[in-house]
């Protein structure tokens, strides 16, 4: 199994000439967009102001003020240079990394252009991006557990919604820790339903996921209308308070963005590390991935395929439950009907964009969170782009990645197939 993953990673290292050219052209197009889209519409004396500390932070950093146009030109030159090198020689296995770099330069140029003549709270933007990334990344982790073992989980949304409901109800009745506990438990219970339907009864996994999604929407709205809306004391769970990490939170700029949050944000970072070790450096991870890639081979080696899947799906459910708890205990402190609003599906998208990999999913979650955060700021920036289009970005890039335009993701090979022992 380890061998096959080595082989597959080698396959991704190979960049076909056609793709090399495409990427070069993409880089150049970005450079041209900066020139003809941004530079031209910026006056030569315009200044961009980036505020470098978010509101409510004691760590005051001086604002970053610079002339917009020269910076935009530099960014465009960098993109063009990278594009030219890519066309001429190619970056080989670094191509995808470079795509990320160029995309980053492009986003920077967009921000410089958008805030030319005004000021933009960059730190606030990034801080919100980190917060918005939490349910997406944790949802993606839930997906990773399930799909790495070969079970599609489109029910992340339903699990999160149910967990959010439990967190609000039991958080109000007992305390937030009990709310968190029941949220995770409800995620596990729904995951058990998913597992029984998909593994034991061999129901198509998309159908079992749909069952859970419809059920979760129905039961939470039903109970909420029946109880929470009539008794507001049942829907007042409180939330986890912000905890500044001593020392780290005082780092200028980065401190308030990364180290001044409630525990869900720290949990996201910790889980990223834990999942990476778990999946890629332990025997358990190797076995789980084996079951997801080639269950028959795993079975031959004495791994109990269905048991492995049950365990993975249940952990995935716990993860979705934790993510759902965030909506209430980490964010607003109360439950509203259908409050997850499709975040579970964006989590699924983050998992795909992150190539079924914890670190990648964190990156994807952050990127999607950033898009979300930026969309809410667009109105302030007076950029002639409707924020709804920016909100579409996560879905569009997922489709592009899935289509293999910018490097095909590698889903677990046995995803979606029930295992039948011969």
């Amino acid at each position: 199994m380890a061998q096959s993953s080595v082989i597959s990673s080698k396959q991704t290292d190979y960049i076909s000439p056609a793709r090399r050219t495409t990427m070069g052209v993409v880089f150049l197009v970005m450079a041209l967009t900066i020139w003809f889209g941004f530079v031209i519409s910026t006056t030569s004396d315009a200044l961009t102001t980036f505020v470098l500390y978010p509101g409510g932070s004691d760590v005051v950093v001086a604002d970053l003020i610079f002339a917009s146009r020269p910076i935009l030109n530099i960014l465009a030159f960098l993109c063009a240079g990278l594009g030219a090198y890519q066309l001429a020689k190619g970056f080989g296995k670094w191509t995808n990394t470079l795509l990320g770099v160029v995309a980053g330069l492009f986003i920077a140029a967009f921000l410089v252009w958008g805030s030319s003549g005004t000021s933009l709270n960059l730190a606030g933007l990034l801080k919100v991006a980190v917060v918005r990334a939490v349910p997406l990344t944790l949802g993606a982790f839930s997906g990773i557990f399930c799909e790495r073992s070969g079970v599609f989980n489109i029910a992340i949304e339903g699990m999160m919604l149910t967990a959010a409901f439990c967190a609000a109800l039991f958080g109000s009745l007992v305390n937030i820790w009990f709310g968190l506990f029941t949220a995770v438990l409800s995620g596990i219970l729904l995951a058990y339903v998913l597992a029984v339907l998909s593994i034991k009864y061999k129901v198509n996994q998309i159908i079992s996921g749909t069952v859970i999604n419809i059920f979760a929407t129905g039961i939470t709205s039903f109970l909420s209308a029946k109880f929470l809306q009539r008794h507001s004391e049942l829907n007042d769970s409180g939330r986890f308070t912000t905890w500044n990490i001593p020392g780290l939170s005082e780092i200028p700029f980065f401190g308030p963005i990364l180290f001044s949050h409630n525990m869900f944000i720290y949990a996201m970072f910790i889980f990223t590390a834990v999942l990476t070790v778990l999946f890629f450096y332990t025997r358990w991870g190797l076995r789980t991935r084996a079951v997801g890639e080639h269950p028959k081979a795993a079975d031959t080696l004495g791994i109990n395929v269905n048991r492995t899947r049950y365990i993975s799906v249940l952990i995935g459910g716990a993860m979705a439950g934790f993510a759902g708890a965030y909506f209430v205990l980490g964010s607003v402190g109360r439950f509203d009907e259908v409050m997850t609003a499709g975040r579970g599906f964006v989590g699924l998208a983050a998992m795909i964009f992150g190539n079924w990999n914890p670190i990648g999913s964190l990156g994807a979650g952050m990127l999607f969170g950033f898009a979300d955060s930026l969309a809410s700021k667009l109105a302030i920036l007076k950029v002639p782009i409707p924020n709804k289009f920016l909100e579409m970005a996560p879905y569009l890039v997922t489709m592009i990645v899935l289509a293999g335009v910018v490097g095909r993701g590698q889903p677990p090979a046995a995803g979606g197939q029930p295992y039948e022992k011969e």
Binding site: I207, I214, G218, F345, K388, F389, M392, L396, Q417
Partner: protein, 414 residues
Amino acid sequence: MTTSEQKQKKTGSFSIFIEEIRKNSLTVTILAIVSGLLVGGLIAAVTSENVYAAFGESFLAGIGAIFTVFWNTYKALFTGSVGVPADIIAAISSGSWDAINRSLAPFFESLVQATPYIFAGLAVALGFRVGLFNIGAEGQIFVGALATVWVATSLKGWPALVHVPLALLAGAAAGGFWGMIPGWLKAKTGAHEVINTIMMNYIAFRLSEYLLNGVLGDPNKATPISAPIEKSAWLPRLFPDPNRFHWGFFVALLMAFLVYWLLFKTTWGYELRTVGHNPNAARYAGMSITRSIVITMVLSGALAGLAGANEVLGVNHNLGVAFSSGYGFDSIALALLGNSHPLGVVLAALLFGFLRNGAIQMQLTAGIPIDIISVLQALILAFIAAPAIIRTIYRLKEPKPELETPAVETKKGK
């Protein structure tokens, strides 16, 4: 294992799954519905304060209260979806058309509620027959409704005979386009249509929010809602108010017939079903899998788009951002319930329409939130998808392994 092999294997397991569903006998279907209704009633009972109060008095009173809740719930469901029998009889004997119309209004309203379900259910069922999972009906409904509302508001002074079909066509075309993208991506790149249709759903939602806040929105309204459509684009109603029954229902039935005819009476349909059943055989026989997938997704999207058009032209006469309430996901349930057969879909859609309409009454009189029907639908879907659960509960015998008769029959048709 190469990618193409994997793809084939996946579609293979899918067709086995569909085959399982098909073997699922009528008994299981009926028992699934009954069980779903029973569990739904039970949920209504355990969440009722009266029941707990009665149990406080005595055990027998508690049991009695449970039955009262059951009775009230299903009475409300029945009178809400069909009408009050005594009223209907009284109205018919009085002979007044107005009274008859009023007493039968709940029944026709159920048909109105069932209409979008028929379209959306057909959309999903058509995909199932070709081995495709169209989870994107919801998004296709939205873009269909957007295109329809555009045609229905911007063309003025057209005769209804032209305007209505044109508005319907616009909805179908937009839905078809929305379905074509995931279909094309699936056929050309192998990208899984489930993920892509989900993504297209959310793109459609954002698009509709954008358009309804902008060009399609009513400038006189603070909320994102379109202007009312031109009267010439209304799908005509058959009866006077409050009866909202309109011609869309018959359009839906016509579509069901067309889907049936396409799938089972044409060479083309045979090709589509073969691709769904056994892509290897289809490829070997020289059928184009790419073309089948794209065509199916276009038709499927068009049917879903018609559901949106139907709601705009027949019921709401305008379009708000929250107009479709989960038809997309529910239609997956009813396509399975209807065995992915057009007739089955129509019956399942009628069931869902009656449930949905009855639930409104249930909310008003029995105080049971309407969302209970989503729970009901989820339960029915689970029981249908896993017939083994029903067989275990009711101790039914496993069906004997059948001979592969359908394959033989269809071969004759070729």
